[in-house]
Symmetry: C2
DNA sequence: CGTCAATACTTGCAAAATGCAAGTTACTAA
DNA sequence: TTAGTAACTTGCATTTTGCAAGTATTGACG
């Protein structure tokens, strides 16, 4: 029978979660995505200065894991917007736990507007939009 | 003025939390400590087979971060027991968030008795105790 | 006394991940 | 044609991981 046991280490939920987002950058990308950032440039520029090759790699992994979704928002020069899937949004609880713990036990740290309001639907304004505004 | 800004990346609570426990093993050690494991051998043997050098390193880091506490429980051959500080216990909420997320979104995973009951005060029985049992 | 066994770590070294800088591709405005 | 922006990719040096084996301490056994 198909025993279906692709677990790297064990069946522990914690261990397997860490195999997906247990590194120093993945959850920061998810955090920024929750905050409303959507393009590669926004993620690369605004964060804690994640190296661009790491960002590209994390986005690929997170997409493969079904946590982020990549959709083209423009055709001519194909540009992609990254958004969280329900699975990715659910990581907000983990983020929130980290925020609470960090704020309480690491003096000086603070939460950057961890509100659910920032996940509203806006278009990737400015940047690439500016281009075709003049054309018509 | 003493601006006190020892932050590696930013003042974000998430980023700083990840700088402390944002790797694949640290939280698993905390998990096992929450489950009642206390000695180096128990941690090394029972887990998802953490390499022993990594375990030693993580215990040092977690101790330096004020998350675990190392206390001798025996003098002759000095043996240490590792326990969680309040700061370390508080990571239980983060673990719990991971468990919930993992169980929901990673099929097949499960929580290993994540009960707070296991943190009661027992002695590091067996192991080193067996030795002097025969003496009397 | 010599050897074995157990606990708790270290050390060596190959393999993988990370981080910085620079390059590439696509396309458009001037 | 030149310059500029967005989105990546590539090279390479440094760091971290992981596996295996070794070390140190002490009691047990013969």
């Amino acid at each position: 029978m198909s025993t279906a046991k692709p677990f790297t280490r064990s069946a522990c939920a914690v261990a397997n979660s860490l195999d997906v987002v247990g590194d120093k950058w993945s959850l920061l990308v998810v955090r920024d995505l929750l905050h409303g950032k959507r393009t590669y440039g926004e993620l690369a520029g605004s964060m804690e200065r994640i190296p661009t090759n790491i960002l590209a790699d994390r986005l690929k992994r997170l997409e493969a894991a079904g946590i982020v979704q990549r959709t083209p928002y423009q055709q001519q020069p194909v540009r992609y917007a990254y958004t969280l899937t329900p699975k990715g949004c659910a990581l907000g609880d983990v983020l929130l736990a980290f925020v609470r713990w960090g704020k309480k036990y690491i003096p000086g740290t603070l939460a950057l507007n961890q509100g659910p309001a920032s996940v509203t639907s806006e278009e990737p304004k400015a940047s690439a939009r500016r281009v075709r505004a003049k054309r018509e």
